[in-house]
Amino acid sequence: MIELLTETAIQEPQRIRGLEMPWNRVMGSTETPARAARALGPWHPQEFMAECVETIPEAGAMMTFVFRRCDGAPLAFRAGQYVNVAFPVNGEDQEPVDRSYSLSSSPTEPWTFSITVKCDSTGLVSPWVHENIKPGTVLEMLGPVGAFHLPDADRRARYLLLAAGAGITPIMSMMRTIHSLPGHADVVVLYHGSDAGGFAFHRELAYIASVDSRIKVYYSLGDRSIPEGWEGLSGRLTAAMLEEVAPDANGRQVYACGPEGYLNTATELLKNVGVDDTSIYMEFFSGDRQTLLEYQAEVALAADVAEEIAEEIAESAEDYFEGQPAAFGLYEPGYDAEGTLQASGLPLEIVGPETPGSDPSADSPGGEPEAGSPDASSFDTVGTGSFTMSFMRTGINVRIDPAERILEVAQRAGVRIGANCKEGMCGSCKVVKLSGEVEMNHQGGIRAREISAGKFLPCCSTAQTDLVIDA
């Protein structure tokens, strides 16, 4: 026991740069098993049934409900998103009442997921939920929904997370996610509550803050009277408080969740301390009619997308998963289609249909140029040899043996390719290969980048398969 109590200096962990969500690599992967995992990707909302497996009472009249999907699949989502749940408030045979709740668990533990519900005794749904949802209860859900979430990759990963009351729920998901991932991050959480005993998750927050040097948590007691022994901040959100907890707020991405009044104040204050509007993300926990309508629209769109995708998958699962990035682009127009994944340095285009390097089976037959180009089958064929090289500009097919240098055979057949050293040094014969494989023994006349862009030097290359060449 004595060792446990001895103070030991422990060094900071070594970390990779920035944060990256684990599913990014799956999206970029061309290996078949990993590619199959794209089916689990958090790219689109789905309708599914989920079974409650645990209920956990929280401080502040809140309750966490842990679910698993009935079909056994993990629930893929982004930290900060929510699900729309159909609650049979008026009995199983009556029309259920839909409500949206933020996911409080981390998507890095996707086999179960949680929502955390604050009981509002005057409300229709939340008291019913607290009273009736038990392990074994099965509910119909739609999700994930929402654009309020952490980015998929962020090399800067500096956040200011602002929460008031039940607004801690999506913020908790974000913190759990960051805590579960390696990588550099710098997170400041400012959590406003109305009374000292009402901070949900405070024990877990204290634990995370004590073991994870990337995360700092501050509490403030709003405008209520301060009990004896309170060590946190006091008072509503002010510019001075922001300055105190995050003097570098200006360079952070801010995620804020709470009631409307709180968020309106936050917007104003953040602007004053120099945070750009494009760096502020907000989720309203209560709002005016306009806000509610926006949520309804978001849920309705998610439902449409879920239905559309379910139909597509039913028609041809394989085609669907090939083209998945386009599908999630449809749900969140222009969002991650390029930005975030590209920023992570991952070759998103690998799954696109037109890019060289993609699975040839996904291309049009033979990887031929676009419609309107000549068809190589109509070209004259000259020479002898086991492979055919189609020169698309010259309009000729040239037969070649695997031992012959491509340049010589091509030039003999009248294809005009400039050349000088003929030893792979000067690069003057560089051409683009549209399809097929060559073996090349160059001496610096071509760059790895150019090779991966489909170019090669015919002077020092032999054919390994039939070839289609842009010359």
Partner: protein, 434 residues
């Protein structure tokens, strides 16, 4: 190029030595009797012989700015830069280093690479296809019937190159000055947090100014003329260059705003561990430098009318946009502004005694997306305007230097950095001629 000398130039000897003794004596006297605190005599800006001496004594001897890492990020990427008669290829090699080669084919002297920038494997001269490796070795020259041709004797001539904190410098001298190491140690900690290796070129502007390279540099080393820069005046405090005691009453309010902005900038710098102190050794060392971090007016983030950021992606590991501008001057041919959201590099490439190429490059974080994170027009607006205004000022002076009525005038107190530049220049040339 105009040549006032009849004696052919010996590429291995000093140009100065090739001048007729009488002319050399005259030029030496011009340097010797230069009046301290006054602008230079007209021939310094107009005489082709002095330009030749400049090329030899300044550009042929010192470490000079060529480009930034963002201009040649990948192996095989190159830029060609010309300093007067010299043309150099600066190329990123496979080991991540920089090769500097004279852009002169060893066959008949043709320019080997003719583009300003590009990417290449081996280097092929367009004339007779002599092919050089990226290290400059001649690896292919078709030589039918030649029996005594030894390729190893005809590699491209090499020069020195080095990269510090994302800036690339070249030196043509056989033995480069060694005190550049000291200068690099001064500026590296200021620049490193901006991480130039993770930037990309947003825009590059090449302007040919009808003026001697020294006039371009002189103009940049003072803000006495800044009334002529209305766009820049939004972000630079109108009191720039003034010190306590020199503040006219109508600027007192601005002066106080400036002091406040500077002290909160310094507080932020201390918080983030960023150096901000002024280091000014413009003429007290061979690789002369001035560097500091200074506040900007308005929101203090960038060169915009209201001082707000112009790119939304922070550079490197910087944590805050409100970092003012870290400005650096390096003798003899460059100056820079490093901000939280972007970097601007300025290089002066002399063409002849009355023309200079001024190359301005705007760098943003390499993951910043044009049209999303920055608007190119807005990003470049202030310095595009300022550069054009500066070009006009330089050209006015060049015209003046050509007039028989021109005589050197006194530098004012706020122009002490111009004096330092000229003093540096005169010292370096005199050392070379001695």
């Amino acid at each position: 190029m105009t040549a006032s000398v009849n004696v052919p130039l010996n590429s291995r000897g000093k140009i100065a030595a090739s001048l007729p003794a009488e002319q050399l004596a005259e030029i030496t006297a011009l340097f010797e009797f230069r009046r301290t605190g006054y602008s230079l005599d007209a021939p310094f800006y107009t005489d082709p012989s002095i330009f030749k001496i400049d090329m030899e004594a300044i550009f042929g001897q010192h470490w000079i700015f060529a480009a930034s890492t963002a201009e040649l990020p990948e192996p095989g990427d190159y830029v060609t830069v010309d300093y007067g008669p010299y043309s150099l290829i600066v190329l990123r090699n496979d080991d991540g280093g920089v090769n500097v080669l004279h852009n002169v084919c060893r066959h008949r002297g043709a320019r080997v690479l003719t583009e300003a920038a590009g990417s290449t494997g081996n280097l092929v001269c367009g004339y007779h296809s002599w092919t050089y490796s990226p290290e400059g070795n001649l690896i292919h020259a078709s030589a039918p019937g030649e029996t005594k041709f030894d390729k190893s004797c005809f590699g491209l001539k090499r020069a020195h190159g080095r990269e510090v904190a994302g800036l690339i410098f070249v030196c043509i001298a056989d033995e480069p000055p060694t005190d550049f190491d000291e200068t690099a140690k001064i500026f590296e900690p200021y620049l490193a947090p901006h991480d130039l290796s993770k930037t990309k070129i947003a825009y590059q502007q090449n302007i040919i100014e009808e003026g001697n390279w020294k006039l371009v540099m002189e103009n940049n080393r003072e803000c006495y003329h800044c009334d002529g820069h209305p766009e820049l005046a939004c972000s630079l405090f109108p009191t720039w260059g003034l010190t306590e005691g020199l503040i006219p009453p109508h600027l007192e309010e601005v002066w106080n705003r400036n002091k406040e902005a500077q002290s909160s900038l310094e507080e932020r710098c201390r918080r983030y561990g960023l150096p901000y102190e002024v280091v000014e050794q413009l003429d007290t060392r061979i690789a002369g430098i001035r560097i500091s971090r200074e506040s900007l007016d308005g929101d203090g983030e960038s060169f915009s009318a209201d001082g707000r950021r112009l790119s939304k992606k922070l550079l490197g590991d910087l944590r805050d946009f409100r970092l003012g501008r870290c400005s650096m001057h390096l003798q003899p041919n460059s100056w820079f502004h490093f901000l939280g959201d972007h970097v601007i590099t300025f290089g002066v490439f002399p063409i002849n005694e009355h023309q200079s190429l001024v190359r301005t490059t705007w760098l943003v974080a390499d993951d910043a997306v044009e049209g999303v994170d920055y608007d190119l027009e807005k990003l470049t607006y202030t310095w595009k305007q300022t550069n054009l205004q500066d070009k006009a000022f330089v050209e006015l002076c060049q015209q003046g230097a050509g007039s028989p009525a021109y005589e050197p005038g006194p530098y004012m107190k706020s122009e002490y950095q111009v004096e330092a530049f000229i003093n540096w220049y005169v010292q370096r040339v005199q050392e070379h001629l001695a």
